[in-house]
Amino acid sequence: MYEIVDKIEEVPNIYRLVIREPYIAEKAKPGQFVIIMPDEVGERVPLSIADVGKDTFTVFVVELGISTAKIAALKKGDKIYSVAGPLGMPATIEKYGTVVLGGGCYGIGVLYPIAKALKAAGNKVITIIEARSSYLLYFKEELKKVSDEFYVTTSDGSEGTNGHVQVVLDKLIKDDYHFDHAKFIGCTYMMMNCSHITSPYRIPTTVSLNTIMLDGTGMCGCCRVSVGGVTKFACVDGPEFDGHQVDWDELMKRKSAYLEEEMMSYQTGPHVCKALLDQYCGECK
């Protein structure tokens, strides 16, 4: 059991959890993730590590289903059933030159340690974040501090540019900005759009994929993605991949594989994970 040292609702639906786990805090590098189970029958939820403290680490949770709803319902001082990590490969941090970063949703929070590390490595960091509306933007001050240039976009135009990360990105490229590297973290749709923008300009692009995951150690194969025609596991080969080579259509389809179970789980309350199905199904007792 792992104690929640702090829980802050950054904006509606997005929670910052600080969890006590000294081993993860010691080993974690920017870009890695942990897998959290809210309770014994909950799904295993992969979450990017956003920050590490002395014996704690921080994750951003977006409430988007029954298991994340369970996590969102936990309070400061409550215990999490299971935490596994750090998992995956760390983000590649080098001296590229000028780096553009794009973040949305939970990615805004996760972008922070990466921006900080890139800045420390001597890069010029340009950060663009997106949200639906002004009340859904967070971490602006923190990101501003570690970025040389900082842009905000909203879908409804209530703050910053009206539009999305790719709108500003496209404008900057057309304004003769030279980017040596691009990193995008957020929803799959946003990462796909941004990769499509950088692709014609041959800007090396990495995206941090958030696939359905089970064990997170390369055993189950739930997190398969096709990158450049080769099957990769997001949990051990990723989560960072070349955005220009990811098969986005396949990824989107794989992500909607359990829509039925996801909806039905709200009917039967605390749902049964697929792996535990045999124990719970009336026929297999």
Binding site: N13, E63, S133, W248, K255, M264, Q267, V272, C281
Partner: protein, 523 residues
């Protein structure tokens, strides 16, 4: 006498509003607060029309027609006015997805609606496909708001069973308040606070479970936005099919409409076409039913006891096994227990079955079970899970035909999985008269309708008259022999379906019963 709408002459009808007359004549007037079941209210102001000869504009939903009225429902001026009103409504309703330039592209690519806790746009809204605000925004081709946007940031309410409430989406149309007051007569929902902080809620903002709320769910059904939603009946986007059937959880015979997707019941609401249904359906039908019948625990395969374990088998083996048991005991030592939840056809067939086998011990009430010891019954064929079967020492074999593995399951010799009432067709006699059941979804795996199970068994017993292919054939036979089914004594507050307590399968219902223990009626 007549009046003129948009240059068209229309007969005058006394007591009707402009909106009523316009709708009857297929003239479209956008509105968000008017509802056919509710009294006029005039909250949204979208239905403004020009009545010639009077100053300004008039609400078509609250203005009664007068002979000779000349009305324009659509002009540039009215369009501008409606647009401004709608912009004001939307400026306080999470509307970012409606104004997003890539909304269509996003819908095409994203994997369904995000099941968010707090709704921050159409893509996180369970009501997306049914939303009336969204429909009007499409009608008005709405892409921009001139006013500053405001998010109310009201904490969402999830502490009640069955309900999720996010009043940040509320447009104050008052439909839920009116349905609660004027249709259901419950007076639970009211406008709390006034002016800009007006909010819908219960008196003193108590949780619904602490009020007299009946959890009928009518407020959810009339809400034009996603502010009110049923926790277990959302996120399925569009349903594949809508089927109407009769509720069998009590003898009232309410009709309801079920949304079906992935061959499962995903939502239930009172049948909109069923006019005798003045109020809504009760909490059992509206909220408990899908949770219960979609449960993983359902009996799915026939089973036979071998080596002290119930092994799954096929129908032929199970039916033959039952036939062997029934043949190896004298009919006087066999009893059949008929549950109150059988269709008329199944009940008739069971009685005919008992008749032909000369089984006279046909029980229908729990009290009848006391006769087991007295008559020295050795075989009990039960269609309902019965408690304390241990105490009847004479019982040697139990044939268990049920929907769930409930009381008596572990003492059974044979398990026969039955279909629930949403999985079969037929008729039932209720206090509303003869009502029809329609098959909504397929029964899980090998589970079969009760009448089909009886027919399976009779195949191995050399009985005649059990070769029906359709349930309607049994109905014809019942009519021919003038069999009159009875109304089962199961009232609205009966808390079981067959042998299973509803609360055992529906955690939220257990919470409701627990919280209202001291009351005469739980809802």
């Amino acid at each position: 006498m007549s009046l003129v709408i948009n240059g068209k002459k229309i007969p005058y009808q006394e007591g009707k509003t402009i909106l009523d007359i316009a709708r009857e004549n297929d003239i479209y007037i956008p509105t968000l607060c008017a509802h056919e079941r509710l009294p006029s209210f005039g909250a949204c102001r979208l239905c403004m029309v020009k009545v010639h000869g009077s100053a300004g504009f008039m609400n078509s939903c609250t203005t009664q027609v007068k002979p000779g009225m000349v009305i324009t429902t659509d002009s540039l001026e009215i369009k501008k006015l409606r647009r401004a009103i709608f912009e004001l409504i939307l400026s306080e309703h999470p509307s970012s997805c409606m104004m997003c330039s890539q909304a269509e592209h996003c819908d095409k690519f994203n994997s369904g609606i995000m099941k968010a806790g707090v709704i921050t746009g159409c893509n996180t809204c369970p009501n997306k496909e049914m939303c009336e605000v969204r429909k009007i925004s499409e009608d008005l081709n709405f892409k921009n708001i001139r006013f500053p946007l405001f998010y109310k940031n009201i904490p969402i309410e999830r502490n009640d069973p069955f309900f999720d409430r996010d009043y940040n989406l509320c447009i104050h149309c008052g439909r839920c308040v009116r349905v609660c007051q004027d249709v259901e007569g419950a007076n639970i929902l009211v406008f709390t606070k006034r002016g800009h902080s007006t909010k819908v809620g219960t008196s003193f903002e108590k949780p619904h479970i602490e009020t007299d709320c009946k959890f009928c769910g009518q407020c959810i059904d009339v809400c034009p936005t996603g502010a009110l939603s049923a926790r277990g009946q959302k996120w399925y986007e569009d349903c594949e099919q809508q089927v109407s059937t009769t509720c069998m959880l009590c003898n009232k015979g309410c009709q309801f409409q079920l949304d079906v997707k992935w061959d499962r019941i995903v939502a239930i609401r009172p049948d909109p076409e069923y006019k005798t249904l003045e109020t809504g359906i009760c909490v059992k039908g509206r909220f408990c039913l899908p949770v219960m019948l979609n449960n993983m625990d359902r009996l799915r395969f026939p089973r036979i006891l071998r080596n002290f374990k119930l092994y799954p088998t096929n129908w032929d083996d199970a039916a033959m096994y039952v036939a062997e048991i029934l043949e190896s005991y004298p009919p006087s030592k066999i009893a059949i227990y008929l549950t109150q939840f059988l269709t008329d056809e199944a009940e008739y067939l069971f009685k005919k079955f008992a008749d032909q086998l000369e089984i006279t011990n046909v029980y229908t009430k729990p009290e009848d079970l006391s006769k087991i010891t007295k008559n020295g019954i050795k075989v009990l064929y039960t269609t309902e899970g019965l408690p304390d079967l241990d105490k009847y020492k004479t019982l040697e074999k139990i044939i268990f035909q049920e929907v769930f593995p409930t009381n008596g399951f572990d003492k059974a010799e044979v398990i026969l999985p039955a279909a629930a009432f949403t999985e079969e067709s037929g008729t039932i006699t209720t206090t509303r008269g003869l009502m029809h059941l329609h098959k909504v979804v397929k029964a899980p795996d090998l589970a079969l309708e009760d009448w089909k199970i009886v027919q399976k068994i009779t195949q191995y017993l050399d009985l005649s008259g059990f070769k029906h292919l359709e349930v309607s054939e049994i109905k014809h036979e019942m009519d021919r022999v003038k069999y009159i089914p009875e109304i089962h004594p199961v009232d609205e507050y009966y808390l079981k379906y067959r042998g299973t307590k509803i609360a055992d399968k529906v955690p939220d219902f257990a919470i409701l019963l627990q919280a209202r223990q001291g009351r005469e009626k739980p809802w």
